[in-house]
């Protein structure tokens, strides 16, 4: 570039960008050429009482309390989203809640079913929750909106640090008297569940709207009573929301320096204990909300060790012994090339397994952790586990069957076995793409564009003066030579007349 600066008077730099997108020239290819792919993955859901997966639409005699959280996050950088406080706090809390609640709901079932849902794609305009509500509206899901009694969503709950948790509610739906009554009742149940715990629960002012949450997608369609739990009142405590720096350190998950990975896995940090408290609160609140009896509340406690293991797996290292034990053998054996590569998982939703490599890691982890926490071990063989309809004691409509590795010991790898659990995946792709409303104002239209190669050519162009000089000199030379030649040829006899040959020769 230094040369060009010295020649700026005599050279111009022409910088030409060629985009090799052919469809600018071939309209027919434009019509069939795919330019981008919608963001898509799966929601994970389960319930305390199994729901018949093949029966879509309104489920008879079912009134569910939905407990929900988001499964994804994002950041400015492609496929980088550690999302600790934004997402992991919610996931870990809800998983610990399920672990605390599930045994009691089997022994002393509450009147209402409790439906747990992990929504994928919420960071991109609520892809998963909008899809589930859309399916519920069209009777394409195991339950519909008439089955929904109330909803409790877990937002960002990791940074309360001894301060209170806040129960956010929607002021618009609360203008309806009955909804308002139910919401107030829900709040008092949560507060009574907090008694005896090291937590306080507050409500923000009534006119304050909800923070960004999946609950809003349900409210858009129907005024359901519900709450969103968060560690903040008016503004986030999370300084690194949707940032690259929302990592373990942001959640205060740090370990003493000289621990081995397996020791770190089970080490109970303060963050783990605090989240376990929140999970206990949520579990007890859900039990009461579902109509369960208060006398069973003391049996509902989240295990801090499970919380610690979850935090380690989702924030520090996903390739740990616990995760390996509850995933299928083919995933465990593949090691580095599969979802069990080293380091923490990234929570960006991605394009789904059809387009983009293996299944999303976080979805798989949550699915198999739920199977581990809520499932029962069966003694089916591997082929029976993959085709349970052939076994007449098993019910594929009510349960899913997972072939898992089992805990590995020092001497040998684990013995795989079959787990039966009522954990399901449901497609999380924006309804805009099913309706082909690519400019939809109602649903998410986020996509990743397809990449084409971009070329650029840089070349030097001669200065106009030099070009014109060359042309001018050329024309001058041509004209001059024509003139001179004509002159010489007309005077040839004179010029070449010193003949040494006889006159008979011609010239």
């Amino acid at each position: 570039l230094s040369h060009t600066h010295t020649h700026t008077d005599t050279h111009r730099f022409v910088f030409t960008l060629f985009m090799s997108i052919i469809l600018t020239f071939h309209v027919s290819r434009l019509l069939s050429e795919v330019l981008c792919d919608p963001l898509s993955d799966f929601n994970v859901w389960t319930s305390t009482r199994p729901l018949n997966n093949s029966a879509k639409g309104h489920a008879a005699n079912e009134s569910v309390v939905i407990a929900a959280t988001r499964l994804d996050g994002r950041s400015f950088f492609w496929e980088q989203a550690p999302s600790a406080e934004g997402t992991v706090s919610g996931i870990v809390t809800l998983l610990a809640t399920i672990q605390a609640l599930y045994p009691v709901t089997q022994e002393a079932p509450p009147p209402h079913n409790i439906f747990f849902s992990f929504f994928q794609g919420e960071a991109f305009d609520y892809i998963g929750s909008s899809k589930m509500v859309y399916d519920m509206e069209r009777n394409d899901f195991v339950i519909d909106l008439n089955n929904v009694h109330s909803m409790l969503e877990i937002g960002q709950v990791g940074l309360h640090r001894g301060r209170s948790l806040w129960m956010h509610s929607d002021p618009v739906s609360r203008q309806n008297k009955s909804v308002d009554t139910q919401v107030s009742a829900m709040m008092s149940r949560v507060q009574s569940a907090a008694a005896g715990l090291n937590l306080t629960v507050d409500q923000p002012s009534v006119s304050q709207p909800l923070p960004p949450s999946s609950f809003q997608r349900f409210l858009r369609v129907r005024g359901i009573p519900g709450l969103v739990l968060a560690d903040h009142n008016t503004s986030f405590n999370n300084r690194y929301y949707e940032s690259l720096y929302d990592d373990a350190e942001n959640l205060n998950v740090t370990y003493p320096p000289d621990l081995s990975p397996d020791e770190q896995l089970v080490y109970e940090t303060d963050a783990a204990k605090s989240l376990a408290e929140v999970a206990t609160l949520v579990a007890r609140s859900l039990y009461i909300q579902a109509g369960g009896e208060e006398k069973n509340l003391n049996n509902i406690t989240a295990d801090p060790k499970i919380v610690a293991q979850l935090l380690y797996g989702f924030l520090i290292q996903k390739n740990n012994s616990w995760f390996r034990s509850l995933l299928p053998p083919e995933v465990t054996k593949k090691g580095d090339n599969s979802i069990l590569s080293s380091g923490p998982p990234q929570f960006y939703i991605g394009l789904g397994p059809r387009i983009h490599g293996p299944v999303h890691s976080v979805t798989r982890f949550v699915q198999y952790i739920l199977a581990n926490l809520t499932g029962t071990i069966t003694n089916l063989t591997e082929s029976q586990c993959q085709n349970p309809s052939e076994v007449n004691t098993e019910n594929k409509d009510l349960f899913s069957y997972f072939w898992v590795s089992g805990p590995a010991s020092v001497n040998s790898t684990g013995e795989p076995f079959c787990v039966r659990a009522s954990v399901r995946l449901s497609k999380a792709v924006s309804p805009a793409f099913e309706l082909l409303e690519y400019g939809s104002p109602n649903y998410s239209t986020w996509t990743e564009s397809r990449w084409k190669s971009i070329r650029a050519r840089i070349f030097l162009v001669a200065s106009r003066e030099l070009e014109m000089l060359t042309l001018g000199v050329g024309v001058a030379v041509l004209l001059l030579s024509l003139l001179v030649t004509y002159f010489i040829s007309s005077k040839a006899e004179l010029l070449f007349s010193s003949a040494r040959e006889p006159p008979t020769t011609t010239y």
Binding site: H3, T10, H11, V14, I458, F459, L460, V461, A462, R464, L466, E467, M468, L469, T470, L471, G472, V473, G474, V475, V477, L478, L480, S481, L482, V484, T485, Y486, S489, K491, E493, L494, L495, F496, S497, S498, A499, R500, E501, P503, T504, T505, T506, Y507
Partner: protein, 258 residues
């Protein structure tokens, strides 16, 4: 506007040659034929020398830069010697052809003199040599860019065109001097032609210092032009008379039947 460079360089390189062709050769079909035959002879000499160079390059060590440069110099020298050899060969051929033509023709006089043949064959050599020197460069000059992006001098095209102009004219002058010296058995003149051709070719190795190659070439061009003028029957006196326009009286005084 790279088309401007293209046309400019074409006019510079081929301007005089085209002018000569139009005014002195185009009207006489015999001269045209001998011009084309001369061009063909030059082409054959180039083919031979390039064949030899190609074979030696294949045998050589492609990675050694000094060897490749040495081979290039060898190729250039060989090509010059072969061109002059073919010029001599063309001279012998023309001598034989002239006798044959005389025998065949109805007239007493030879239709074309050996001096004219010298000029025409030299120009033929020049046309073909110029074409091969400059056509590739001309086609590159059309491209959207130009040379010099790494700071090399940007006068590549115009220098090549001037060099080609010189080469074409030089071939013409060399042809005249060569044939004249063969007629008069002046072998030292023959040697001088060959040596000047070698000098002009080898001086191009100093490129891209274009002034280092163009200036000696044009000096040799002027020397050869003067020498060829003298060989062709010119003299200083004729030139003075012509330029001062005292020709009318002179012609009348020296009237010859045409």
């Amino acid at each position: 506007m790279t088309v401007a460079v293209f046309f400019g360089c074409t006019f510079i390189a081929f301007g005089p040659a085209v002018a000569l062709f139009v005014f002195t050769i185009a009207r006489d079909p015999l001269r045209v034929i001998f011009l084309i035959a001369g061009a063909f002879f030059w082409l054959v000499s180039l083919l031979l020398s390039s064949l030899v160079w190609f074979i030696t390059v294949q045998i050589s060590n492609k990675n050694s830069a000094t060897q490749q440069t040495g081979l290039l110099i060898f190729g250039v020298v060989l090509s010059v010697l072969l061109q002059e050899a073919f010029r001599y060969g063309y001279y012998r051929l023309l001598k034989k052809a002239n006798e044959g033509l005389l025998a065949l023709s109805q007239e007493d006089t030879m239709p074309i003199s050996i001096r004219q043949l010298a000029y025409v064959s030299g120009l033929g050599f020049g046309f073909m040599s110029g074409a091969f020197s400059v056509v590739n460069i001309l086609s590159d000059s059309l491209g959207p860019g130009t040379v010099g992006i790494h700071g090399d001098p940007q006068h590549y095209f115009i220098s090549s065109a001037f060099m080609t102009l010189a080469i074409i004219l030089l071939h013409m002058f060399w042809g005249v001097v060569f044939f004249e010296s063969c007629e008069r058995q002046r072998w030292w003149a023959l040697g001088a032609v060959v040596i000047s051709h070698l000098v002009v070719s080898c001086v191009t190795f100093v490129n891209p210092h274009y002034q280092g190659s163009l200036i000696p070439t044009y000096i040799i061009l002027s020397i050869m032009a003067a020498w060829a003028y003298l060989c062709a029957g010119g003299s200083l006196r004729n030139l003075k008379l012509c330029l001062t326009c005292k020709d009318k009286d002179f012609l009348l005084a020296n009237h010859r039947p045409r």
